[in-house]
């Protein structure tokens, strides 16, 4: 299984029936592919839609129906549309159950940095700061390391997305949570052992007696 599939499949296990879920651009978008049928999860697109459906078939795209990246999508039966003030009232107001975002760094306190690299990349924060500040549960879906460097660090060097800590980190080799405020290894990916995860993690992980394997 490739790293992105591992991450997307594992995040999908976090979704519960009836959840309102916002998926960020990149790996988080893939989560929708692994939602079990019949779970009745609502996906929000921040540009003003609840009930996003799959990419329409060739020739069926509607120019006024797109995702937050401007790509054509479809709307499922029961979908609703609204303006940006409503969309972010839902986000900031705690009505979104789960937000899944990509990350550049997450630190031992759960702080996420995912919106700029000073001097190199300044795309803007889009909706990320509102999502992390306001969603009930924040899940970071990202590769564990980039170019051999751990993305799970002692302290974020990059500008933070929010002062509010995230709830769960899902990577291609591990699931990491915050138990009693301590960054804790919760699961490892199939075929990966605890020592291997520790070796490529900069932050000092708390290791429980038993660390189960991801059930993906």
């Amino acid at each position: 299984m490739d790293p992105q599939t591992i991450i997307a499949k594992r995040v999908a296990l976090e979704l519960r029936p009836g959840n309102l879920v916002n998926l960020g651009i990149g790996i988080p978008t893939l989560v929708a592919n692994y939602v079990p049928p019949g779970l009745n999860v609502f996906f929000q697109s921040e540009n003003g839609l609840i009930g996003t459906g799959p990419i329409p078939e060739q020739g069926m795209a509607h120019p006024l129906l797109t995702d937050a990246g401007g790509r054509p999508i479809s709307a499922l039966p029961g979908a609703s549309t609204f303006d940006s003030a409503m969309s972010f009232a839902l986000i900031r107001g705690g009505h979104v159950d789960i937000t899944v975002l990509g990350g550049l760094q997450v630190d031992a306190e759960g702080h996420l940095a995912n919106w700029m690299i000073p001097g190199k990349m300044v795309p803007g924060m889009g909706g990320a700061m509102d999502l992390v500040s306001g969603a009930k549960r924040v899940i970071v879906a990202m590769q564990h390391a980039a170019k051999g460097k751990s993305k799970i660090v002692r302290r974020c060097g990059l500008p933070l997305t929010s002062a509010r800590p995230v709830d769960l980190i899902v990577t291609d080799i591990a699931v990491i949570g915050f138990v009693d405020g301590k960054i804790t290894l919760l699961e490892t990916a199939p075929g990966v052992n605890v020592a291997e995860v520790m070796a490529v993690t900069e932050a000092e992980l708390t290791i429980p007696d038993k660390v189960p394997e991801m059930k993906i």
């Binding site: 003003g48 120019p63 006024l64 924060m125 509102d130 500040s133």
Partner: protein
């Protein structure tokens, strides 16, 4: 509301104007007004919009023609021309979290001085802003935004100027239609009064100054 040609409408916009432009990555953007801004070479524009779209589309066309001196937006990352002009210091870019941006515009249109939001507290967005603690939680005071012009794109406009929107093309449009001195609207369809049922009017007619007539 007055129905006028796109040429007449854009002629009312001076160089250096502050302009809100509806749309999200070019969807729900008043393209005909942007094309005419480019044709009339209106320059030094200060744009307020969600994003900078991509070159060749939506607001991107204004950057292609180097007509913008400042932009306030939540995201510019998908338009390399804006990144380029920002790095060359040809344009001033103010990045605002998307939810904060729309609330600031909403405040501007609703007679409010600003809004208290938790978004950005404890990050670099907080710099230079007043931080207010309420019941132990930190909020930033984000002030209202208004502009001289709002360029809005609707799905339906009736002969009076009542507007409704379609799908994800609604986005910032109805909020911006409240927050500018002069509101100029393009619509996919212009329809007789009554076609938009009262319950389906999103932007009431008195908010619209000019509707761009069909050719």
């Amino acid at each position: 509301m007055k129905a006028i040609s796109v040429e007449e409408a854009v002629a009312k916009i001076p160089n250096g104007a502050t302009i809100m432009v509806g749309g999200f990555m070019g969807v729900g953007t008043p393209e005909r007004l942007l094309d005419e801004l480019v044709r009339q070479k209106k320059s030094e524009l200060a744009i307020i919009a969600n994003d900078a779209a991509v070159p060749g589309s939506g607001i991107g066309k204004l950057f292609d023609a180097s007509l913008v001196s400042a932009i306030t937006a939540s995201h510019i990352g998908l338009n390399p021309k804006v990144q380029e002009q920002m790095m060359a210091k040809k344009i001033a870019v103010t990045l605002v979290p998307q939810g904060t941006l729309v609330e600031r515009i909403r405040c501007g249109g609703c007679g409010l001085g600003g809004v208290l939001t938790p978004t950005g507290a404890g990050t670099i967005v907080e710099e230079g802003k007043q931080r207010i603690e309420i019941n132990g939680k930190h909020f930033l005071l984000e002030t209202a935004l208004r502009s001289q012009f709002a360029l809005v794109h609707a799905f339906l406009a009736d002969y009076l100027g009542n507007l409704s929107y379609a799908l994800t093309a609604r986005n910032f449009n109805p909020v911006m239609a409240m927050a500018a001195d002069t509101v100029i609207v393009t619509a996919e369809h212009i329809v007789p009064v009554g076609v938009i049922a009262p319950d389906h009017v999103v932007t009431p007619a008195p908010l619209v100054d000019y509707l761009i007539a069909n050719r």
